[in-house]
Symmetry: C2
Subunit: 344 residues, 2 copies
DNA sequence: GTGAAAGCGCTAACAG
DNA sequence: CTGTTAGCGCTTTCAC
């Protein structure tokens, strides 16, 4: 592996000039820059990140923390962030932060280690924190990490964040059903163990209730079932909803696309036709939505990852400390799972 | 951020001793070690990865390269690798390598940049390459990367790799159907564009054909349809298979669980009962398999990630250069989607 | 626009 | 078992 010195030698300049030229600084004459670039290419020189980081204090590496890398939403955000970072020449170091909800002592230890060790060894210039709800203690420890942090999915005290207006999203989904004439609209929400997630389940439920109330319908607790955001959970919840003679809904609004797909499958298994007998709408913009003909509110997760990256990279240059949260885009995608209420 | 010198001062020893004590080297007296650890804790000292890397040549960071982070299999492998790495105190830097199949010039550029720049700046001690089929040119460039590489999913010239015996896995799945009395067994394979993946589609198809042949059945091209490993693709292929009067299968073996789930959905939509009218088996061990009652051959992707990590970490210490490929475990999971052939 | 030189914070011989 | 001393390879003043 050639060093900067060899490049300097070949180009006939000092190492300082090589450093400047390769970093794209303006204070290098075009001719010199060319010679340096040629020399570097000829030698196959690539800057050593360790040496560069040590000398400059910048790693050109960004950390991404998320609760899991296995659920649909997170993988999309990750893909979006990775793409954007790679295009900017940055590396991406991934941290999966186990939830401590289960009370698993190993998970607690892993989580502690992230804050006490991984985060502090200066491997990253900044952090993108996805759906990360921290304890007070963790928040305190996060303060030792001096670099910029951008949050996705909820407010992170002291950091900029991207937030989806869950209330409005839910209202939109519900109003879509209302506009089709539905009055008996059930809701599959996230169960409260997911409420660590910035009360996302709660907000989505509130949006639903607000829309109903605004339409003169009194929200009914019987019409709401909670699940775990998976297809399977949505399936089970729908079985409950459709099986209970007191509920008898003409439409279901699920707080995620996967749950909505579960609802579609459950409806089929019970012999209900979608949307003739039952309209179903979700939230997310899942790939499979098209296959299932699912009407949904798309929240463009990849864009969220890209946006977070842009914000962070911007902060890394300018260290502007504008902490105003950024509202994330969303869009109603109408497909075949919703229709006008049957006039029977 | 405290430096090693401050810790040394507080503990009343030299920086060398601090370094040794914190690195867990044996040549430090217990008493000294204790004092150093106390001092480090008191100061909140964490080693700077850049300085440590520069001085030692080891980054304590491992790269993971995969074609995508959005398909089920890859996310599981990633999760497994991350867990194992984190427990060993290593960071994980993720690289998504765009496929160049589409001929997208941007993808080509990104891919080139990975080999020419990202890989060579010494940010990682080693690499875990998942389902990475390289061009000769890329293979050549990979040689500039002097560190150990462990491959998952196929042979990587010059590196150790973990391989699933796709032939045997497919044979097992097919034999399971044969043992239930099925003779008209259709196959949904991966289309050949996925054959870059170490000919995985081809191997799985060959295992299927071998099993049939061994049972005295002549493989019939009409019984085979190709898809893209997704639920949707499996659904479409099944529609073709079940719609063609010349095919008329009593069982389908799909080369992935997602395609198998698509097959289950398609069968339902066509009014066929699973398994009464049609048995279906997949490969993978997908979470949703349980929900769909899908019989499958589990390939334990998380274990693959963990195993690859262990192998790599081992190589990092011992630099043993045993390049013998490691066979990955797999297991037939019988659920409700397969049954004895109806005796009508 | 370019060069000389002083570190960045740590590790790894080498002594003792 | 512990300290001294060179660097690791780069960036960044500070001069010129």
């Amino acid at each position: 592996m050639p060093t900067i010195e060899e490049v300097a030698g070949l180009a006939g300049v000092s190492t300082a000039t090589v450093s400047r030229a390769l970093a794209g600084k303006s204070s290098v004459s075009p001719a010199t820059r060319q010679r340096v670039e040629d020399a570097a290419k000829a030698l196959g020189y690539v800057v050593s990140s360790a040496a560069s980081s040590l000398a400059s204090g910048r790693t050109r590496n960004v950390g991404v923390v998320m609760p899991s890398v296995q659920s649909w939403f997170f993988t999309r955000v990750l893909a979006g962030a990775h793409r954007a970072l790679a295009d900017a020449g940055y590396d991406l170091t991934l941290y999966q932060l186990d939830s401590t909800l289960g009370g698993d002592p190993e998970a607690v230890a892993r989580r502690a280690r992230f804050f006490d060790e991984f985060l502090l060894r200066k491997r990253v210039d900044g952090l993108i924190a996805v759906s990360l709800e921290l304890t007070d203690d963790e928040l305190e420890r996060l303060r030792h990490f001096r670099n910029p942090v951008v949050g996705i999915g909820g407010p992170l005290p002291g950091s900029r964040s991207l937030m989806l207006d869950d209330l409005s999203v839910s209202r939109l989904a519900t109003e879509h059903l209302l506009s089709l004439g539905h009055r008996r609209i059930a809701h599959i929400g996230g169960d409260t163990s997911f409420d660590v997630d910035f009360h996302l389940p709660t907000h989505r439920r509130e949006g639903y209730e607000q829309a109903l109330t605004a339409a003169g319908i009194t929200p009914d607790a019987l019409m709401v079932r909670l699940a775990d955001f998976t297809i399977e959970g949505g399936y089970r919840a729908t079985l409950q909803l459709l099986g209970d003679p007191r509920v008898n809904p003409t439409a279901i609004f699920a707080a995620s696309d996967e749950m909505a797909m579960g609802a579609i499958l459950a409806a089929r298994d019970l012999g209900k036709r979608v949307p003739d007998d039952l309209s179903i709408v979700g939230i997310d913009g899942h790939e499979l939505g098209d296959f299932f003909g699912l009407t949904t509110v798309d929240q463009f997760p990849e864009t969220q990852g890209r946006l977070a990256t842009e914000l962070l990279l911007h902060e890394l240059d300018d260290d502007s400390d504008d902490l105003a949260p950024v509202a994330l885009p969303y869009e109603l995608m109408v497909r075949r799972s919703t229709s006008i209420i049957p006039t029977t």
